[in-house]
Structure formats: C-alpha cells, structure tokens
Amino acid sequence: MENKPTSVWTSNRFWSRSAGWVTGVAAVLLILLTFDTMAQITMGTAEDVENKVTKRVPSPIVINYKITYEMDQRRGHEVPIIGGNDGNGKSLFQEKEKFFGRDDWTEEEAMELVNLGKLTVQAKNCMDCHTLLGNGAYYAPDLTKAWLDPAWGPEGPMQAMTGASSKEEAMATFLQNPDKYPTHERMMPNLGITAEEAKGVVAFLKHMSTIDTNGFPRNFGKIKGAVYVE
C-alpha cells in the first residue's frame, strides 16, 4: 500500500488543513502585532524628555524644542530629531525653540493645546483634502511633517507673505485666513478657524512632526531644505 500513487494536491483534507494552519498562524501574528503596536504608539511623558529617552510618539512637551529632520544612515531614512543631534542620530533634548513666545510650556498646557488642535483638525475635517499619518486625501499637501516644511521657515515664502516673524505665527495666520494667501492652484478655503484653534493646530502639527513614522511620508526629505544638514 505504501507505493500507491496518490495526488495530495487534489485532496480536500490537505487544503483545508493548510488553510486552517495559515489562518491560525496569521491570526496569532496579528494579535501579537497589535500588542506590539499598542506599546509603540503609547505617548511618552515629560520624564522621558528629561531623561533624554526617545519615544516613537513623544510627550507634547516637545513643542518647546527645536525639531529637525535628519538622515539616519543605519535606518535608511530621515528621522525627527528633538532638541539637537547627539552625533549618533539620537535626540539631545537640549536645544529649545520658542513656540508662540514661550519655551516653558508645561506638559498639561502642551497637551491641552495639542488636543485642541487635534479636535479642530477633526471638526474642520482637514483629512478631506490633507493626509495625516497616512490617513486622508492627497488633494492638498501631506501634513504629517508640515512643521518641517522649509516653506514656513525663515528662508521660505510664507513668513514674508503673512507678515509673521516666526514659523508658528506664519502658520497660525495662514490657517485663520487661508483664502487671503494663495499658495497653490488648489487654494485652501476659509474654514473659520479662530486664533486659539489655529494655535492648537500648529501645536498639533509640530507635535506630529516629532513622531517617528519610519520615514513616512516617503520623499519628504527630497524637499529642498527639509533635511537638516550640520
């Protein structure tokens, strides 16, 4: 009986056992990956920042720091650097930067501001046109690293256009009256964002730019001046 010619490929039992095996392994993998993701997207605390511990999603207190985007040769893509580079591609959490005139926002104040920004972004449905962390549309620019876009920097055109003296003020001024400042063929409509909401949105955008997204959005670093070079 041992040499009876048989074709396993036409056996229903083989295919159902294989399907069961693959589904089972995939389900276990997905559950493990979900737990792994939960740990990775948990927001860091102010203590982490004080102890110079880099988290994928840092505490909102990072709005007090200078944020740059630098090429990490080992990881093969750009990574956000908070408060200066220690020379090994890690954040130093030392170099501060005024955010609306202050660099001493407490964790609670920063959290409140970032939350207000997030709620405004949801209420005004920014994702109808923009992309945030991979969610949303590509009708308007991707906002994941918008804070790092050199267009808002001292060399960019937006500060002169809005008459603001800093990046955050330029962004906030633009957000309150986007229809006054044509930046694109597809002009952003006026969404009735108030001054306080605009401040929150800018804080939200700054905080989001510090999230390590493993190099997403791809090619952001190709914008001239987006990647910080010593």
């Binding site: 009986m1 396993v8 056996s11 693959v22 493990l32 994928r56």
Partner: protein
C-alpha cells in the same frame, strides 16, 4: 544576518523586519515549512488508504 536593532522602540518585529530577507525567512519557517510537513503527512495517510 541578524543585525543590532536600529528602530526607536526595539521589539522582535523590528528585528524580523530589518529587510525583506529576514521577514521572508521567518514567514517561510512559520507557514511554508509546516505546509510541506502537512503535504507529506496527507500523502502518507492517503497511501495508507485512510
């Protein structure tokens, strides 16, 4: 082949997902090898007339 983890938050998954090769080898070990075993197991059973 297994290099020190370079991800922000190091985990087994970031080590396995360093590149396409480590992930491929991992998934083949977990899924394809058991299927090869299933194939020969079924063959034996069919030949025995079970």
């Amino acid at each position: 082949m297994i290099e020190p983890c370079t991800d922000v938050v190091c985990s087994i998954w970031s080590i396995l997902n360093q590149g396409p090769m480590t992930l491929t080898i991992f998934l083949h070990t977990l899924i394809v090898l058991p299927m090869v075993w299933l194939y020969f197991d079924e063959k034996k059973k069919l030949q025995r007339g079970e």
